[in-house]
Each structure stands twice: as structure tokens, then as C-alpha cells.
């Protein structure tokens, strides 16, 4: 069992049209690196030159914003669900 990553449409275009990807690793950073290797076009949309998330993209690990859990260093386990959401407005 792997970790699933839900992509928004704007990013799925760079991942062969796949909206859900699967990867593995001990941290979210490992998972993102694996996806980045598989889909090189997607890589620069997921992390900046320093390897960190962009300010306008929010990563959720299950229901939690990863910024509350160490960012890309957040530990992950099989069955976890990662959702990538571009930042959106107030309401």
C-alpha cells in the first residue's frame, strides 16, 4: 500500500493527465521527490529551487496543512493521502 497524491487539474496536465498519483517514502519530501523524478515537468511546480513548497501552494497530509507538521519533513505512512491545493481566497 502506498501513499496517494491528489493533484488539481492544473497540475495533472503535467503528470500525464493523472489526477491521483502513488508514491512511497518516510517523509512527504521523499514522496514529492519520487513524483518529481517520475514526472520531471511537474517537479518545478511542486517545490522551489531550495526544494521547499511555494507560498501559493498548500499541501495537506490527510486533513492537515503540512506547515503545522514540519512541512516536507512531515512523516508519512502507507495509506496516507496527500492533497495539493493552490491557495484560494477568503469568504
Amino acid at each position: 500500500m502506498a501513499i496517494s497524491i491528489n493533484l488539481p487539474t492544473v497540475l495533472s496536465k503535467l503528470a500525464g493527465g493523472n489526477k491521483i498519483l502513488e508514491a512511497s517514502g518516510n517523509t512527504l519530501g521523499d514522496v514529492i521527490n519520487e513524483i518529481a523524478l517520475t514526472y520531471p515537468d511537474l517537479a518545478p511546480r511542486l517545490k522551489d529551487e531550495a526544494g521547499e513548497p511555494y507560498p501559493f501552494v498548500t499541501f495537506y497530509l490527510n486533513d492537515d496543512d503540512i506547515r503545522f507538521n514540519g512541512g516536507f519533513a512531515a512523516p508519512v505512512k502507507d495509506g496516507d493521502e496527500v492533497t495539493i491545493v493552490p491557495a484560494i481566497a477568503g469568504g
Binding site: 491528489n6 488539481p8 487539474t9 492544473v10 497540475l11 496536465k13 511546480r45 511555494y54 507560498p55 501559493f56 501552494v57 498548500t58 495537506y60 486533513d63 496543512d65 506547515r67 503545522f68 492533497t83 491545493v85 493552490p86 491557495a87 484560494i88 481566497a89 477568503g90 469568504g91
Partner: protein
């Protein structure tokens, strides 16, 4: 020959044609076609409607001769053509508040009173008016939103009037006034177990999956521009000039950026002159990620878990936080975060000194202004506008909560003159 009733009905039906402006990324400046899309494909930054650079701008007199709604400023809104829906939103009162000015230690103070906005008593009617026109122009038959309450009310009402379907997502713990004030229009209202930030995340996925026009997600570019009309109206109502300072509440942070943009656009058009106002942002201490950025000079949003009665502005992960901080700092303004008791006192102060009953976000704004005054942020010759963005009847819980600073119970007496006399005497003696 049409009857009066037929004419009134016709006024609510689709007429006119409107073309939304194309889009451009705020960060990398890559252009994009006009569409219900809010994210740049290249850098994932926010897409804004491209400015109307080749448009012939109206004079002050031309604007003054138009209907009193946000559409009198159509040249600065992100459309070509004639609006089709929600034609009568905007042009709320600008109320002079001399006693509040005295409390703040400034020369003049006005309240921009969007607590009486048509039709749903909050400034969100402005942004929904522009978003629903974009949705209609794109041929969408369903609109929706993620909301902390006021936007839910507004989307539900505007959609009902236009005959469009609405899907509205809110946190499950909102005030009753916000829930009932949405349900009454018969939208599809869904309460989500979680905070606004959870609802927002879900709605990003909903917009992506269903293709609906979620006003603050994929219609966000067209939605946000409606906020500028608050600045346009303030300038016009002051006699075509700018205040020296504006205090506004912050949730996602968009409003303060659009206020600054609005004053700038009117200055560039030659309609007003002089220095742009200093912009002051107000948040509750229980949810103040943008004020934290301003006060600590943070370069990124550090999200927080909201814990405040000011639910309408309880956004822990503000999408426009970086831009809001920039607008505030560049304008020479500052930020203030206020306590729960101060919020309730702010509501009561505005009611007592100005005769306006605002909701918790307005209480935050008033309390923040008073706090900024205490900190010496204002000058004696300042002319300040407070943006009051919502109505107190929607958050009665705030002023009746016994743990905060509740209103006193009114005396209950028998229908006898002697009892009134006794009451008056006791109060005179007090």
C-alpha cells in the same frame, strides 16, 4: 403595453451582454484567456483580470449621473459591455462619526457602512455581484462558495434572484444568523465538520471536479475586483478626494489590497489626487496571521488555527496574506490584533457612538482603530475611514455571550406609569 409588475420582473431577468476580461498572472505576468480559472498554469500564482488599458474613462460628472450602484464604475471592473445581473448592489452610506473621531484623537472619522449593503447586509454583495456576472457570461448555471457566513448569504441571495443553482459550503459551527440567512434562499447548503480552511480546501477540489463557478475559487479574479468599489465610493462620497487612513478587517487579505488598488486606479485616472491613504489591517488576536506578518515582518504566511468569535474573518491560512502585508507596509499603515472582549466592546462602541450595529468583523475593525490610536499610529489631523463590512443582526451571539461583555438585561415592569416613574428615578439617581 407592460404593467408595472411585468416591468419589475423583467428587471431581474438576463439582459445585456457582458464579456469578462482576459486574465494575467499576478506573479509571472503570463496571460491567460478569460475563463473560470484562478490559478496560473505556469507558476500557480493567482490570476487577475487584465486591466482595461484602452478604455475611455468617464469624468466625475459622468459617474455622478449614473445609477447609484457598483456599476457606475464599470470602466474599472473586469468586463466589457453591460452587466446582466445584480444591478443594484453598492453605494452604501458613508457616515460621518464625530464622536468616534474624538475617541480616536483624529480630525475626522467616517464609517463606510456596508452593514446595509443590498441585498444581504455585508460587503460580500459587491464581490458576488461581479462574480455572478462572470459566471453568467461563462455560461455556468451553478455558482457556489466556501464561506465563513457573509459570502454564503450573498451567493445564496444573488443566485436565487438570478435563477441559478447554488452550492454553498460552510464550517458547521457558524452563527445561526449566517446559517438561516443562507438557507432561506433555498441553495444547496452543506455544513462541513472543520474550520474555514478545511472548507476552502474542499471547495478547491469541488470546483476542480464539478466545474461549478465557485466565486472565491475559480471565479476569484473577477470576484476580487468587486472590492475596489469600496474605495471608489469612499473617494466619491468624500467629494472626490482620499482619506488619510483607512482601517479594514482582514480575513483572506484581499480587501486591503483592493482598497489600495482602487484608490490608485482613481488617482491614475485623474479623478482624485494627493497621497494614498495609509491602510491599517484589523484581525482578531485569535486569528491574526496577516497582522503577525506585518508586526514581525514575516515574508511568508505562518498559518494558525483560528479561535475567535469573529468567525467571518477567521481564516488561518490567508491566500492573499503576502499581498495584504505588502499593501499595508507600502501604504505606511500597520496591523492590529484585538481581544475577544475588545471585539464586543468595539461593536457596542460603534452602536453607541455612531448608531450602527455591526457584526464581529466590524467590532474587530473598531477595536483595532482604538488600539492603533492608543499606540499613537494616528495623527491629530488624520481623516480616517473605518470599513464596516457586516451587520450585527447576523451575530447576536457575540453581544449576548455571558463570558465576554454582554449587553445588560432590559428591565421588565408592569404596564403602570408609577413603575416607569420609579425606574426613571432610580436611573437618574444612579
Amino acid at each position: 403595453m407592460s404593467t408595472t409588475a411585468e416591468t419589475a420582473v423583467a428587471a431581474t431577468e438576463f439582459k445585456g451582454t457582458l464579456t469578462p476580461n482576459p486574465l494575467i498572472c499576478r506573479l509571472c505576468k503570463t496571460p491567460a484567456e478569460a475563463a473560470p480559472v484562478a490559478i496560473c498554469e505556469h507558476c500557480l500564482g493567482p490570476l487577475d483580470p487584465a486591466p482595461n488599458t484602452d478604455r475611455i474613462l468617464p469624468s466625475r460628472q459622468e459617474i455622478e449621473s449614473r445609477e447609484k450602484s457598483i456599476w457606475r464604475y464599470i470602466e474599472w471592473l473586469p468586463f466589457e459591455g453591460t452587466p446582466t445581473l445584480s444591478l443594484d448592489t453598492g453605494f452604501t452610506p458613508l457616515v460621518e462619526a464625530p464622536r468616534l473621531a474624538k475617541l480616536l484623537g483624529v480630525a475626522k472619522c467616517w464609517v463606510k457602512n456596508d452593514s446595509v449593503s443590498h441585498p444581504t447586509l455585508s460587503f460580500k454583495d459587491r464581490v458576488v455581484a461581479t462574480a455572478i456576472n462572470a459566471a453568467h457570461a461563462f455560461g455556468l448555471d451553478t455558482i457556489g462558495c466556501a464561506s465563513t457566513g457573509n459570502l454564503a448569504n450573498s451567493v445564496a441571495a444573488h443566485a436565487a434572484r438570478a435563477g441559478m443553482k447554488a452550492w454553498i459550503f460552510i464550517p458547521d459551527d457558524l452563527e445561526q444568523g449566517k446559517i438561516v440567512g443562507t438557507q432561506v434562499y433555498s441553495p444547496n447548503l452543506v455544513r462541513i465538520k472543520g474550520t474555514y480552511d478545511d472548507v476552502n480546501r474542499l471547495c478547491a477540489q469541488v470546483a476542480d471536479y464539478f466545474g461549478w463557478g465557485i466565486v472565491n475559487v475559480n471565479l476569484r479574479g473577477y470576484y476580487g475586483e468587486g472590492s475596489k468599489t469600496l474605495a471608489f465610493e469612499i473617494a466619491e462620497q468624500l467629494g472626490w478626494r482620499q482619506p488619510t487612513a483607512v482601517v479594514a478587517p482582514m480575513a483572506g487579505g484581499s480587501l486591503v489590497t483592493k482598497l489600495r488598488k482602487g484608490f490608485r486606479e482613481f488617482t491614475e485616472a485623474g479623478l482624485i489626487s494627493g497621497d494614498a491613504p495609509r491602510i491599517y489591517g484589523a484581525q482578531a488576536a485569535g486569528c491574526s496571521p496577516i497582522v503577525n506578518m506585518v508586526q514581525q515582518d514575516l515574508q511568508q504566511v505562518v498559518p494558525v488555527h483560528p479561535n475567535t468569535i469573529a468567525k467571518s474573518i477567521a481564516i488561518g491560512n490567508p491566500a492573499d496574506g503576502i499581498f495584504a502585508k505588502k499593501a499595508i507596509v507600502e501604504s505606511g499603515g500597520y496591523g492590529a490584533a484585538v481581544s475577544e472582549v475588545a471585539i464586543v466592546e468595539g461593536i457596542k462602541t460603534l452602536a453607541k457612538e455612531v448608531g450602527i450595529f455591526t457584526e464581529t468583523a466590524g467590532g474587530v475593525t473598531v477595536a483595532a482603530a482604538l488600539q492603533l490610536a492608543q499606540e499613537g499610529r494616528f495623527k491629530a489631523d488624520d481623516e480616517i475611514v473605518l470599513c464596516i463590512t457586516g451587520n450585527g443582526l447576523k451575530t447576536l451571539e457575540a453581544v449576548t455571550d455571558p463570558s465576554l461583555s454582554p449587553l445588560k438585561d432590559a428591565p421588565v415592569i408592569a404596564p403602570r406609569l408609577r413603575e416607569v416613574r420609579s425606574l426613571v428615578e432610580s436611573m437618574q439617581g444612579a
